[in-house]
Every structure is written in structure tokens, then in C-alpha cells.
């Protein structure tokens, strides 16, 4: 009431109290910061836990502990000799052997995805196995292994597995074979590198074009090779239309992309295995690669 208020000059004016908000009952009047010793103790615990975790990670992943530089160079040299891989790229002769073995565990390949076996195995980590242009000097400075010593033999391609070229892996040089000397080493290398990335040809499902292959192509490839654009025209990248069997067999601007019965020579499969296709989108799953491989290996029929 007005009569309760002090009259002018009767005493000090009381300070107005702020109006409380609903959030104030959850508010702390003071947040205490950690003192120096508290901070040091907690940071110490964090550091110890972090170090222990990193150690566990290295152990679990089988990562090598830090080795002296000399030991690391020795290891690189021996690995390069065994696989025929140079720092810049593979050595044509011995690289074939390493490319076939798939000796490395499946994992991240040179492109980081490693979703196909070949990405992780063999020469993939050192560069494009089919690109010989970047092949350089071996790590130890010795000359490349001569093509004549390549373990590849005509008509006897090593299967994907460690046994196929274990002897070549062990010594780096296979016994001289008159047949091997007649093979163009570059062609042999390319074919073997491509074959090493293929799924196991002995374990392929029986597939049909319409029910198995076309759904994959429609889902993963037709977007760029046969889908209509907004203006009504068709998007046919590189002249390759993948909407029908006839169009697939007609090939691209650059020629045939499927060689019936020969997955290794089929350019379409090569691009898929290298991860270059699909150009826009996730890589094909192993199951999808197996279906495409099976279809081509079984003759690439229209049925």
C-alpha cells in the first residue's frame, strides 16, 4: 500500500531484487574450477589412459612397434624383393608372382576401400598394378628382375592363393622356363594382376542376365549409362549404354566392354574391380562383383 512506503527523505531506498526466472532454480551460484594439483592429476590420468589405449590398439591391430630406421629399410628391401614391388610401382617380372598371391590380408588397398580381394593383395598398395608407366627402380637399387624369370606360364595361370606362387615368393625367381620366355611380360603381368583381383572362378553361382545382372546394372550403372536427362536426352557416358544386352554387347566409344567367357579381358569388370566404376557412388559389393564375373565367365548370354 502507498501508506507503507517510506516518505521522501525518511530513509534509504531498498535495492530492488531481480525477478527470478524459472531457470534460476537449476542454476548454481558458483562453479568451482579445478585447482592446479587437481588439474594435473586428472590430466595425468587422461594421458595414462590414452597411452594404454593406443598401446592396446597397436597390439590388437598387430601394428609394429617403432623400429629403427635401419631395420625399417631392411624390411622394405626384403619385402620389395619378395614381391617385386618398387617404391614407385611394381617390377613387371616378379610383380606377377606377388600380384597373384594376395599375400596381404584383406584390408585397405591403395584406394583405401579394399572391398575386393585384389585391392588388398599383391601390388595394389604400391600403385596401379596395371599401370607400368610408373615402375621405377627397386628399393635396393638393383636392376628389375628379368622377364624371363617370371613365374608365369602360358596355360598354367596361378590360382588366387598363397600356394600358387609360393616358390616364387620365397626366392623371388622361378626356375627358367622356355615357355615363359615366349610370353610378352607386360601382357602376362597385366593379365595376372587382373586375374588376381577376380573372385574365385571355381566358386561362382549360376546367374541369369535378366534376373541377376540387369538389376545390378540398373541400380549401380544406368544412372550414367542410359538414364534420361532432364531435357529428355539420354545420358550415355563414354558411349556405353547399359540398359539392354544388345547395347552392352555393342560396347562403348572405345570398343567392347564385355568379352564373353573371359572376365579378365572384359574392360567393364576391370574398371569395377579397380574401383574406378561406379564413378559416382559406392563401390560394388563382393556379391555383385561375383554375379558380374559369373555372367561373363558363363558366356555373357542374354538369357
Amino acid at each position: 500500500m502507498a501508506g507503507d512506503r517510506p516518505a521522501h527523505g525518511e530513509g534509504p531506498t531498498p535495492t530492488p531484487t531481480p525477478t527470478p526466472t524459472p531457470g534460476d532454480r537449476f542454476r548454481r551460484s558458483k562453479v568451482e574450477a579445478p585447482t592446479g594439483p587437481d588439474l594435473a592429476r586428472q590430466l595425468g590420468i587422461v594421458a595414462i589412459v590414452l597411452l594404454a589405449w593406443i598401446g592396446s590398439f597397436r597390439l590388437a591391430m598387430n601394428l609394429p612397434v617403432e623400429a629403427p630406421e635401419s631395420a625399417r629399410s631392411e624390411e622394405r628391401r626384403s619385402r620389395g624383393e619378395a614381391r617385386g614391388v618398387t617404391e614407385e610401382g611394381p617390377t613387371p617380372g616378379a610383380g606377377v608372382a606377388a600380384g597373384v598371391t594376395g599375400a596381404d590380408s584383406p584390408g585397405v588397398g591403395s584406394n583405401g576401400t579394399g572391398s575386393t580381394e585384389g585391392d588388398a593383395g599383391g601390388v595394389a598398395a604400391a600403385g596401379d598394378p596395371l599401370d607400368l608407366s610408373d615402375a621405377g627402380e627397386p628399393l635396393d637399387g638393383t636392376a628389375p628382375i628379368p622377364a624371363a624369370s617370371s613365374p608365369v606360364r602360358a596355360g598354367n595361370p596361378p590360382a588366387s592363393g598363397p600356394t600358387a606362387s609360393s616358390s616364387a615368393d620365397a626366392s623371388g625367381v622361378a626356375p627358367a622356363d622356355p615357355v615363359a620366355t615366349e610370353i610378352d611380360p607386360v601382357t602376362a603381368f597385366e593379365e595376372e594382376a587382373a586375374r588376381s583381383r577376380l573372385p574365385n572362378l571355381d566358386d561362382l553361382p549360376v546367374v541369369g542376365f535378366a534376373e541377376d545382372v540387369m538389376p545390378i546394372l540398373e541400380r549401380r550403372c544406368v544412372k550414367c549409362h542410359g538414364a534420361p536427362r532432364d531435357d529428355g536426352t539420354l545420358r550415355i557416358e563414354e558411349g556405353l549404354d547399359l540398359r539392354t544386352w544388345d547395347a552392352i554387347m555393342a560396347g562403348s566409344t572405345w570398343g567392347a566392354v564385355v568379352v564373353p567367357g573371359d572376365p579378365v579381358a572384359s574392360y567393364m569388370l576391370e574398371l569395377v574391380l579397380e574401383g574406378k566404376m561406379p564413378d559416382d557412388g559406392p563401390r560394388l559389393l563382393p556379391r555383385e562383383v561375383r554375379i558380374l564375373t559369373a555372367w561373363i565367365a558363363q558366356g555373357a548370354d542374354e538369357r
Binding site: 531457470g23 537449476f26 542454476r27 548454481r28 551460484s29 558458483k30 562453479v31 568451482e32 574450477a33 579445478p34 585447482t35 587437481d38 588439474l39 592429476r41 586428472q42 590430466l43 590420468i45 587422461v46 589405449w53 592396446s56 590398439f57 590388437a60 591391430m61 584383406p106 584390408g107 585397405v108 588397398g109 584406394n111 583405401g112 576401400t113 579394399g114 572391398s115 580381394e117 588388398a120 574401383g275 559406392p282 563401390r283 559389393l285 563382393p286 556379391r287
Partner: protein, 143 residues
């Protein structure tokens, strides 16, 4: 309906749908905790705790769906599986332990003797989810 269910559980990778939850929740957890300290707000602190529990729960779901994707979609041949498994298990253990500790001690964030540990754990969870998400990106889109 059956097509809808098949799309959800077979065609679409379930893991890819679920991983966004722990990633987002871990970031929000840390943000709420920092806000709580700045404002002295117990409401923000409580929100951070709830987000932390949700991070732990959604991490378990993401891990289960990831394991299923490895087996079904990649037929056991997915890249980066050991690394992702290790980081995923670490994330579950870390967020689970932090949630438990906070449930037992409401003063965890306010106590100067535990504040840094609690915040470091949250920061670690953010780092783990970011790393896991980055690896997932490598699997899908390459390196």
C-alpha cells in the same frame, strides 16, 4: 509392407542409418556439458547426461547393425573391420562407463576433482565417433 520391411532391413544398410545417432549425440553431449559449465546450469548438465546415455545406447545399436552388415552385405569381406570394431567397442565402454559414473555421482561435472576427467571422456567419445564416421566414409566412397 513386406517390401518396406525388406527395404529397411535388407536393401538399405541399416548401419548407415543408425550411425548418425551416436555421432550427433556425442557432439551434443559435450556441447551441453560445456554450456552447463558456462551458465552454471544444472538443466544443461542433466541434458548432457541424458544425451550421454543415448550415445551409449545408440552406439550398441550401431555396432550390432554394423556387425550384421559385415556378415550379410559384405559377406565378411568388409574393409577396416578390425579398426572399426576396436574403436566401436571403445566407444561403447567409454560412454557406458561415463553414464554409470554420472548416474552414481550427480556432482561429477561440478566437482573440480572429476570435472576434467568427465569432460575428457566426452571429448574422447566425440573423437571416436568422428573417426568411425570417417572410416565409414572411406568404405563407401574411397580414400
Amino acid at each position: 509392407m513386406s517390401q518396406f520391411l525388406e527395404t529397411i532391413f535388407v536393401t538399405h544398410p541399416l548401419h548407415g542409418m543408425l550411425v548418425h545417432f551416436p555421432i550427433a549425440l556425442s557432439v551434443v553431449t559435450l556441447a551441453f556439458a560445456l554450456l552447463a559449465l558456462k551458465e552454471g546450469s544444472e538443466a544443461f548438465e542433466r541434458a548432457a547426461f541424458y544425451c550421454l546415455v543415448a550415445t551409449a545406447g545408440s552406439s550398441v545399436l550401431a555396432a550390432m547393425s554394423g556387425y550384421r552388415d559385415v556378415l550379410v552385405r559384405f559377406e565378411g569381406d568388409a574393409p577396416l573391420v578390425p579398426e572399426k570394431a576396436f574403436l566401436g567397442v571403445t566407444l561403447i565402454l567409454l560412454t557406458g562407463a561415463l553414464s554409470l559414473a554420472r548416474a552414481l555421482d550427480e556432482e561429477l561435472l561440478w566437482n573440480p576433482r572429476t570435472m576434467v576427467l568427465y569432460l575428457s571422456g566426452m571429448l574422447g567419445a566425440v573423437a571416436l565417433t568422428a573417426s568411425l564416421g570417417f572410416m565409414g566414409g572411406i568404405i563407401l566412397y574411397g580414400w
